[in-house]
């Protein structure tokens, strides 16, 4: 069970949260994006073994999205921060 520090609410237990995937930036302008680039945006992920950047949502709490760095081998939560805060 993870103890996740929500940047708004403080430490809460894992079942309150929802994993939201790796952050990805949508390629633009749409008309100029190749099939390969669009496919990569939709489907390809870094899937890091070790420290991993992720979006999470405090779905059962404040409902806010935030960024988390988490180790995928040890499951240690390395840090969390609000979107837009210095990465």
């Amino acid at each position: 069970m993870l103890l996740i520090p929500c940047p708004w609410c403080g430490p809460r237990s894992e079942p309150e949260f929802q994993f939201g995937g790796e952050p990805a930036t949508r390629p633009v302008p749409a008309a100029e994006v190749s099939d390969a680039a669009w496919g990569a945006y939709l489907y390809v992920r870094s899937n890091e073994k070790g420290p991993h950047r992720e979006l999470w949502c405090h779905a059962g709490g404040c409902g806010q999205w935030f960024l988390m760095e988490r180790d995928t081998v040890t499951h240690a939560v390395l840090r969390t921060h609000k979107p837009g805060a210095a990465a």
Binding site: F19, L42, R45, K49
Partner: protein, 415 residues
């Protein structure tokens, strides 16, 4: 050595001292025509079919740990081919047909028990969707039967048909040819078969890099030295992304922990495999008497081979809801494997972005049932450099063309 009743008798009379090892442990040679990374079921099957079907003998399997120590030894051993899309039905039924002849082919008892796989429906809406799936499977040539609640009760009377059932059972469907097999035996049988045809199986050999020149793979760097390779096949399940990273490309795959558990052993009382998408779990009884059960993926990507508590609680709660009689059982063991999940819950089989390198990955939660097919199709790729008809739809390019084979709904549950 060929295993037989006479051999058993002979070895018994000589005190069981004359059995040779089932496979050798050779030192790696400097070069091979084909090298397969990953000594699980898929990799070992590929090596076996490379030698047996394609006559290639200069073949090696490299395994970082021990044979079948990853997902091959961690799954819940279910085999079935009840899939919605024609492409899926073809590949999984090809695997099931090979499984049906495998004990004889390998001269190694994989203990295939075709006790049927029963999927439950818990509402009238479930029943309507299930009828649609069953129709699709029949069109795909897969024999399945739709059952009403009375028929389900006759088959598995222990299920919760009480008035207080949170998930009342409205019916289900069954694939009689589905069932379970002994997972270790599948790995060991293929390993023994491949070894007897001259394949080198090299354990405790970690791949640390690839030698790629002019966009083509020339060899592999390992913890036991460099090995030149004419062709390289990757069958490493949850670590596919890590090896792809070493070779300089990325995959549309995420690695998750999938957990399973067993209870203390009981006398025989469950003679089929039961799956319930609504309660998020599935269960069978092993030949040793333990209940073997599991459910969905853990909630976030992971490379840790252990499950997390919230999902374990969900799975156990689902089991007890479906079988109230199991309430007093003790849990014996719980574990997890790292599975490679594609967005459409279908595998990736085909050439990698590096010439001479081939992928067999993305089986996600259902790789065990596909081992013979995955091995066969990988062997075809390594030997000919081209797709087999059955593997062509599963090419990596579908994530660019958008022609996904979306079994996320069809497969309905992790298994």
């Amino acid at each position: 050595m060929r295993y037989s009743f006479l051999q058993l008798l002979k070895q018994g009379l000589s005190g069981q001292t004359g059995w040779p090892p089932a496979w050798r442990s050779p030192e790696p040679k400097r070069s091979y025509d084909a090298v397969i990374v990953g000594g699980g079921g898929h990799g070992l099957a590929a090596a076996y079919y490379l030698a047996r079907v394609h006559g290639m003998r200069r073949v090696a399997v490299l395994e970082r740990g021990w044979l079948g120590g990853g997902n091959t030894g961690r799954n819940t051993t279910i085999v079935r081919s009840n899939y919605f899309f024609p492409e899926s039905a073809r590949i999984y039924d090809f695997a099931l047909r090979l499984y049906e002849g495998l004990s004889k082919e390998l001269n190694f008892n994989i203990m295939l028990s075709q006790r049927g796989v029963l999927n439950l429906a818990h509402s009238e809406h479930d029943m309507e969707l299930m009828a649609r799936s069953v129709n699709a499977m029949l069109v795909n040539g897969i024999a399945v039967e739709l059952l009403d609640a009375k028929q389900v009760r006759a088959e598995v009377p222990l299920l919760n048909f009480g008035p207080g059932a949170r998930y009342p059972i409205h019916g289900g469907f069954v694939q009689r040819r589905g069932g379970i097999a002994r997972h270790d035996a599948v790995a060991w049988g293929y390993a023994r078969g491949a070894d007897s045809l001259g394949v080198d199986i090299i354990q405790n050999c970690e791949v640390t890099g690839f030698r790629i020149e002019g966009g083509r793979v020339q060899g592999i760097e390992t913890s036991r030295g460099a090995i030149a390779a004419g062709a390289v096949g990757l069958s490493v399940a949850g670590h596919s992304g890590v090896l792809a990273g070493l070779a300089g490309f990325r995959l549309p795959i995420q690695s998750y922990a999938l957990q399973a558990m067993v209870s203390e052993p009981l006398k025989p009382m469950l003679n089929t495999v039961v799956m319930s998408p609504a309660t998020g779990m599935y269960v069978s009884q092993s030949d040793k008497g333990e209940l073997v059960f599991g459910g969905g993926l853990d909630l976030y990507p992971s490379y840790a081979q252990r499950g997390n508590l919230p999902v374990e609680q969900t799975v156990v709660a689902g089991l007890l809801e479906m079988f109230p009689a199991f309430r007093r059982l003790k849990l014996l063991r719980q574990w997890a494997g790292i599975v490679d999940v594609c967005w459409d819950y279908s595998p990736i089989i085909g050439p990698a972005p590096v010439d001479g390198m081939y992928l067999n990955c993305g089986w996600g939660t259902g790789g065990f049932k596909a081992i013979p097919a995955g091995g066969w199709l990988m062997a075809h790729l390594l030997a000919t450099g081209r797709h087999h008809d059955i593997s062509a739809p599963f090419d990596l390019s579908r994530f660019t063309t958008g022609r996904l084979i979306d079994e996320a709904a069809g497969a309905a549950i992790a298994h």
